[in-house]
C-alpha cells in the first residue's frame, strides 16, 4: 500500500534528517518505527503525509507518488496541543474535520461526541483545549484522527504525555480500532515496549540521519493483552532485541 523508496530529506541549511530510507507497508498493517530522538522520525512522517516534498527519493501510496496530502490520510502530530484550535470547543475541533463525511452540523457534532466518548472525554466536549491537561489534549487529537476515518493513519509519538494507565487504554483502543476497520497505521515512538506491543512489525532506525537499521516481524498473536502479552517469551525476546539495536546505532 505504502512504498518508501530511497527517501532522503535535507533541510535548508544542509542538515540531512533522513538518508536513503526504504520501507514498504502492507494494507492493514501496523508498523511501529523506533529510533533515537532527532533521527528523522517526524520528518519521515511529514514526507509520507505530503506536508513536505522530500529532497530525494519517492513515497508511493497505492502506486501513485504522494505530492499533496492524500484524502484518506490522518495524522496525530507530535505537538498535539498546538494542532488543536483554541477558539473552538473540543467537540467542534473534532467536528471540524468531518465536513466531508456528514452533511449537517448536527450529524458532525454527534459523531464528534461519539469519538470523544471512545477516548473517555465525553465530559470534556464543551470545554476549550486550553482548559485541558496535556494528556487530555492528546486524546482529543487522537479522537479527531479516528473520527476522520482514515485509510492510512500516521501517529507521531501519540501516547507520549499521558499517564501509564491512560496510555495502556489508548494503546488497546488503537488495537481494537484496527481489529474492526481496515486501517493501515505507521506509528512512531521512542518507547521500545510500546513498539513491540503495538506493532505487527518493528522498524528500527539508525541515529541521525535516519535510515532503516532493522525490520523485526512481531510473532505475537493479534489479540494482545497488556499483562499476558508483556509476559510472553516472544515479547521479552523482541524487546531485548529492539533495545540492543536502538543502543547500537
Amino acid at each position: 500500500m505504502l512504498t518508501i523508496d530511497a527517501l532522503t530529506h535535507s533541510y535548508p541549511g544542509g542538515h540531512t534528517a533522513v538518508d536513503d530510507l526504504s520501507l514498504a507497508v502492507e494494507a492493514g498493517e501496523l508498523v511501529t518505527v523506533v529510533g533515537p530522538s532527532g533521527c528523522g522520525k517526524s520528518t519521515l512522517l511529514r514526507c509520507i503525509a505530503g506536508l513536505q516534498r522530500p529532497t530525494g527519493g519517492r513515497v508511493l501510496l497505492n502506486g501513485d507518488e504522494i505530492r499533496d496530502v492524500p484524502d484518506s490520510l490522518a495524522m496525530v502530530f507530535q505537538s498535539y496541543g498546538r494542532s488543536l484550535l483554541p477558539w473552538l470547543s473540543v467537540r467542534d475541533n473534532v467536528a471540524l474535520v468531518l465536513r466531508h463525511r456528514y452533511g449537517s452540523r448536527r450529524e458532525r457534532r454527534a459523531a464528534a461526541l461519539e469519538a470523544l466518548a471512545e477516548v473517555g472525554l465525553a465530559d470534556a466536549a464543551a470545554k476549550h483545549p486550553g482548559q485541558l491537561s496535556g494528556g487530555m489534549q492528546q486524546r482529543v487529537a487522537i479522537a479527531r484522527a479516528l473520527a476522520y476515518g482514515p485509510k492510512l493513519l500516521l501517529m507521531d509519538e501519540p501516547f507520549g504525555s499521558v499517564d501509564a494507565q491512560t496510555r495502556e487504554d489508548l494503546e488497546d483502543l488503537l488495537l481494537a480500532l484496527r481489529a474492526r476497520t481496515p486501517v493501515t497505521v505507521v506509528l512512531v515512538t521512542h518507547d521500545i515496549d510500546e513498539s513491540v506491543y503495538l506493532g505487527d512489525r518493528v522498524v528500527v532506525l539508525t541515529g541521525a540521519p535516519g535510515r532503516v537499521l532493522a525490520e523485526l516481524p512481531v510473532g505475537l498473536p493479534a489479540d494482545r493483552d497488556q499483562i499476558k502479552t508483556r509476559q510472553d517469551p516472544e515479547f521479552v525476546r523482541l524487546r531485548a532485541e529492539v533495545g540492543r539495536l536502538v543502543r547500537e546505532k
Binding site: V69, L73, R82, S83, L85, V97, Q131, R144
Partner: protein
Amino acid sequence: MKALHPNALRLPLHLAARLWLALLLIGLWELTADAGPGSYFPPPSVIVRALHRVWFSGPASDFFLTEQARSDFPVSFGHLLSGWVLAAAAGIALGLLLGRSERAHDYLQPLLQLCRSVPPPALIPFFVVVFQLDTSMYVVTIAFGAVWPVLLNTLAGVRAVDPVKLDTARVYGMGRTAQLLRIVLPGAAPQIAAGLRIALGFGLILMVLSELVGTTSGIGARLVNAQRTFDIPSMWAGIALLGLTGWLLNAAFLLVENRLLRWHREN
C-alpha cells in the same frame, strides 16, 4: 435592613482606589480656576454646564439631544464609522493578502512603507482638492489614517499563525479558502482586534482634524467656531465631548472584544 454583602463594596472601593487622584486634581482645578467670563481655563463645573447646554439640553423625546447635537453627531459619527469600516475592510483584506503571499509581500511592502510614512493630516489639503468638502473627503481622510494599524496588526497576526495548525488543516483536507476562514482569520483575530481598536482612536483624531478645515457642521467645526467667537466654555465642552467619545468607543470595543475573544484570554 439586609446586611451588605462584602462583595457589594468591592467595586466602589476598587473604583475609588483608581479614581481618587483624578478626582482630587479635578477638585483642585475647580477651586483654583478663574470662573469669570473670558477665562481661558474655566472650572470643570462651567465646562459641564456648557456641555449640557450646547449638546444635551434637548427635549426628552429626542434623547435630550439639542438641535445642534442632532445635526452634528450624525455628521461626525457617520464620517467616523464609514471611514473606520472602510479602513477595517481594506486593512484586513490587504493584511491577509500580504501575510499569506510571499510574492505580494515582496512587491507591495516598499510601497506601503512609503505611504505609511506620510502623516495622514498632511494629505487633508490634497483630499480637499480632490473631493472638495464632500462626505467622501472626510471618509477617505479617516480611512487613510485608520487603515495602518489594522493592516500592520493583521499582517503580524497572520504571519504568526501556528504552522502546526495549518499543517493540521491540510492533513484534514481543508482547501486554501477554508484554511483562511477557519484557521488564519481566527488565529490572527486577537491582533486584528487590537488593530481595529487603535484604528478607532486614529479615526477619531482624523475626524476632528478634517472637520477643522472649511466646514460648518460636525463637532470639530463647532469647536473652531466656539474658539473664533471666544466662547471658551463651549470650546472646552467640545474638547470634553471628544475625550468622552474616545473613551466610550474604546470601552465599548473592549467589551465586545472580550466577549468574542474569550478563548484568547483563557489561554
